[in-house]
Subunit: 349 residues, 3 copies
C-alpha cells in the first residue's frame, strides 16, 4: 500500500446541483497542486482551516472576493483568468475546492477533484485518498443534456419528447466517462464510455474499443489496452493487454491482493491475470491464471522443476505462462536455472 | 415454459412514424396494468373489441375524446393528466395501446408496450408474449436527433452537415437502448448502449461496462453483471457475472434449452455457461462449460465419483466447476456424498 | 496479398479543417468509381495530373467552376446535384478528391475517401491501398458537436459548460465510427462505436453489442458478429462469430499471417482464431487456437491420426476444434480419412 503524501491541490469547479442544492458533479477546467503557503494563508478567511479538505460554493460575491484575494499572487494568474471567465455566466454551481492528498474526500466536489487529479496525471493510482467515495458519489443519468438526477429522469425524458427532442441516456452510473472531463496528452480512447473519470492513462497509451479502465487504475506509460483494467490495477510501461483480457479486481475477485502488471508484459487476448506480474511476463491467449492454480514450473531447457501455486509466482519477472495443448497442464517457463528459481521462490515466502 | 397470463396493460405512447405513416417506435411515459373492467368497457367504443390487442392512433379529436371517456374514473387520474400534457404539443404520433400479456403483439406500438412492461418490472422475462416481434420491429438508426429510418439516413446526415451540425448515429438496430425509455429503480448501467429495451433489471443490479442484457432476459434481484446475459436468460438474486463471461443463447447456441442461473451463483470472468445452473454454483474464471462436455464428478472429499455430461448437471445446486490445472480435466466438486449425487442425477434423468 | 487495381474513384466531400487550415476529416455523401475517361480529362485543368491521387479544396469559385466543367456529362448529373446543394451553405471545408485504388493516399481527404469506398462496398478489404494512413490520420475528439482537435478540446469543453451546454466526447481516435459516415444496405450495428469507418459489412450482417469490426476488415456476406474482427481480417459468407471471440490481428499478434475465416464457419463464444480457417470449420466455445499449439488430429471415426501444429491446418476446411474435457488436449476432428488428411497437409507444406 502506498502511503499518501500530505500535499494540497486546489480547483475552481463548474458543476451541477440538484433542486435541493446538493452537488451532483463538478468539472475542473484546471488543477493546481501544491499552491504556495502564502496562497493558502490568503484563502484561509474564505475557506476556513486550510489544513483540511474544504469546499466553498461560490456565488458572484464570493467569486469576486476570491479574485481580489488571489490577484496579488503571480502564481494565481491563470486561476484569476479562469475566475474571470466564469464570472457573470449562467453557471450557478461553482466551487472552490481544496483537497489534501492524504485526507478522505468529504463531498462530491472533493471526490471529483481527486478523480481529476488522477486523470490529469497529477497523482498516480493509489497516491490519493479515495476512502468512502462510493457512498458519497451520486448515481446519475449521464445524458446529451447533461447529468440528470434519477428522480427527475422520467420528467426530463417526457419534457424532451414533448418538445420534439430526444434525451439520450449514455449511462446511469456514479462515475462519468473520463473524456468528458479530462483527456491527457498522447492518448487514444476508441470508446470513451469505457474509461471512467479517475483512470490514469500514461502518455502513449491507446485504449481500443474492447479496452476498459476503471478509476484509480491505469497505465504508467505506453500501452496498447484491448482488455479490462479493473479498479486499483496498475500496468507498467510497455505492457500490452490483448483483446478481452481480464485483470482480476479486488471488488470482483473476493481477493485482497491488488493485481498489477509490470513493464513489457504481454497479456494475450481473452486471457486473465489473477496474480501480480513482474516485468517481461507473457500470458498465452485464452489462459486465465487464477492465484490458486497449480502450475508446472519449467526451466530454460523446458525441464519440469516442480510444481507451485500461481500465487507463489506473484511479482516474479521473465515468466511465460501457457497451457500445454496436449496435456492440458498449466506451465510456467522461465529463463532461469532451478537454483535461481528456488532462490526466487524462497524470497517470496 | 411459463404460461402467459390473460392480463391487459394499457399505455399512452408518444412515438415516431415514417412519412408513409407507419410506426417506427413508441415511448410510454407510464404504464397501467390490469385496468378495471369498467374502464375497459368505457374504452370499447374507441378501441373496438377490448378483449384483443388494440392500437389507436390519436389525433387531437380522439385524444380529447379519450380524456372525456376516462375522466369519470378515479383510476384514470394519472392517465388523464398525461393526456392533458400531451394535448396541443407538436408530437403528432400518439397511440392508445392495449395489450393482453398472452396475446401476440400485432404492431410496433404493442411490441414497444410489451418491452416497456418488461423493463419497468411489470412483468418478468417469459411472462409476456413476444412471438413474432423480430419480423415486426423496424431496423432504425438511433441518432442524437432521434430515430431515423434507414432509407432517409443518408439525406438526414447530409442535411445535418449542410447546417453545420453533426448527426451522431449511436446504433442501427431493431431495439433501442433501454435507458432512453425506462430506468427502473435501484440500478446502475455503466454503458447504456449495452442494455436493450425489454431487459429486466432487478433492484440492486449493476451492469458494468462489459455487461450486456438482451430483451426478455435479466436479473431478478441484486446482481453485479460484468458479463453477457443473452436473450431469454434469467439470473437469480445474489448471483454475479464476472467480466466478459458468456451465457449461451438459444439464438446463438443452436440449442433449445434456455439457460438460467440460480441464486447466489458466481460466474468467473471470461467463463461461459452452457447449461442451466441451480443455486450457489460457481464457475471458475476462464472456464466455458458446454452442455456436451464430459465432467469428472468429485465428492466433498475430492474423490472421483464418476463421469457425467455437463447437461446431466443442469439445474443442480451447490456445484463448483473448474478445470484441473495439472490434468486439464473439467471437474465438478460438490458438497454431497456419492449417494446423494446419484439420487440427484437419477432425478434428472 | 491482393494486387490493387488501377481504378480511380471520385468524391465531393464536406469536412472539417483546423484553424491552421489542415484537414481533420471528410464526409463523402456519394462516391463515384471509375468515372469515364472524358470526365477525368475535363477535370484535369482543375485537378492537375488526373493519373495521380489529387485533392482540391473548393472555395465558392472553384465549386462553381467544377459544376460548369461537369455539367455537359450525363454521367455527372448526381455529382452536379450534390455540388448544387453544397453551394452557398456555411460549410467551408469542401474537397474534390480523386484516388486511384493502387496508389498510397497522400492526405486526410484521400484516406477518408478510401475508407468510404470500403464501407460503401465499392471495394473489398485488401483491394485498396491504405499504406501509411496511421501516420497521416489525425487523432481527434469525436463529440456531439463534431470532431474537435485535441489541442482545442479543453477550451471547447469549458466554452460549452459556460453556455450551460455539455460537450459529450464519444471517442478520441484516428478513426470515426462508420455509421456516422456510411451505413450500407442490410446491416444492423447494435453499438455503432464498435465499427470503424473503413469496415466492410456484407449485406445481411448483424454486429451485436459485443461485436467489433476494424477498418480494412469485415464480412463478405451474411454473418452474426458477436466477436471481434481485427484489422485486416475477412470473414466469409455464412460464418458466425460468437460473443467475445477474438480474431488475432497482425498488429497485436506479432504475426505476419493475416487471419481469415472461410464460409459457414462457427467460432464459439469467448474462443479465439490464431490461424486462417477454411470453410465449414468450428471452434468450440472458449477455445483459443494459437498457431503454435500442438493439436491431436482425429479422423472421422475419432481415431488419433497424429499430431500437428495448428498452423499446419491453416486454410483447411471441414475441421472441428475442441479441447478434450477429460484429457485437456486440443483436438481437431475431421471428416476425412488419414490418407486425405496427409494429402491435405502435404499440399500445405
Amino acid at each position: 500500500m502506498t502511503q499518501f503524501q500530505s500535499i494540497p491541490s486546489l480547483g475552481l469547479g463548474l458543476g451541477t446541483k440538484n433542486r435541493a442544492g446538493a452537488w451532483l458533479e463538478v468539472f475542473y477546467p484546471q488543477l493546481w497542486t501544491a499552491p504556495p503557503q502564502e496562497v493558502l494563508q490568503a484563502l484561509a478567511p474564505l475557506l476556513g482551516e486550510t489544513g483540511k479538505n474544504q469546499t466553498l460554493s461560490l456565488d458572484e460575491t464570493k467569486l469576486a472576493n476570491l479574485k481580489e484575494v488571489l490577484r496579488p499572487f503571480e502564481w494565481a494568474a491563470e486561476f484569476c483568468e479562469l475566475a474571470q471567465r466564469v464570472q457573470g455566466t449562467g453557471v450557478e454551481a461553482r466551487a472552490l475546492t481544496l483537497v489534501w492528498h492524504d485526507q478522505e474526500p468529504l463531498d462530491v466536489p472533493q471526490i471529483y477533484l481527486n478523480l481529476h487529479l488522477l486523470s490529469s496525471r497529477a497523482v498516480k493510482p493509489h497516491q490519493i485518498n479515495l476512502s468512502g467515495i462510493f457512498g458519497k458519489l451520486v448515481n446519475l443519468a449521464w445524458t446529451n443534456q447533461g447529468p440528470v438526477e434519477l428522480t427527475e429522469l422520467d420528467q426530463a425524458r417526457l419534457t424532451a419528447r414533448l418538445k420534439g427532442e430526444v434525451l439520450v441516456v449514455r449511462s446511469v452510473d456514479k462515475f462519468p466517462p473520463m473524456a468528458d472531463y479530462v483527456v491527457p496528452k498522447g492518448v487514444r480512447i476508441a470508446d470513451a464510455s469505457r474509461v471512467r473519470l479517475g483512470a490514469y492513462l500514461g502518455e502513449g497509451t491507446t485504449v481500443m474499443h474492447e479496452g476498459f479502465v476503471n478509476f484509480n487504475a491505469g497505465t504508467l506509460g505506453q500501452s496498447m489496452v484491448e482488455g479490462r483494467i479493473s479498479a486499483g490495477v496498475v500496468v507498467g510501461n510497455g505492457s500490452d493487454l490483448g483483446g478481452g483480457c481480464s485483470t482480476m479486481g479486488t471488488l470482483s475477485g473476493g481477493n485482497s491482493v491488488v493485481i498489477s502488471v509490470g513493464e513489457k508484459c504481454l497479456i494475450g487476448a481473452n486471457a486473465g491475470v489473477g496474480i501480480p506480474l513482474g516485468d517481461r511476463c507473457t500470458l498465452e491467449a485464452g489462459l486465465y491464471l487464477t492465484a490458486g492454480s497449480k502450475v508446472n514450473l519449467l526451466d530454460g531447457q523446458g525441464n519440469l522443476q516442480g510444481q507451485v501455486k500461481a500465487r507463489d509466482l506473484s511479482g516474479k519477472s521473465d515468466l511465460l505462462f501457457r497451457r500445454n495443448s496436449l496435456t492440458g497442464a498449466l506451465e510456467c517457463l522461465t529463463n532461469k536455472t532451478v537454483i535461481e528459481l528456488n532462490l526466487a521462490l524462497h524470497k517470496n515466502n
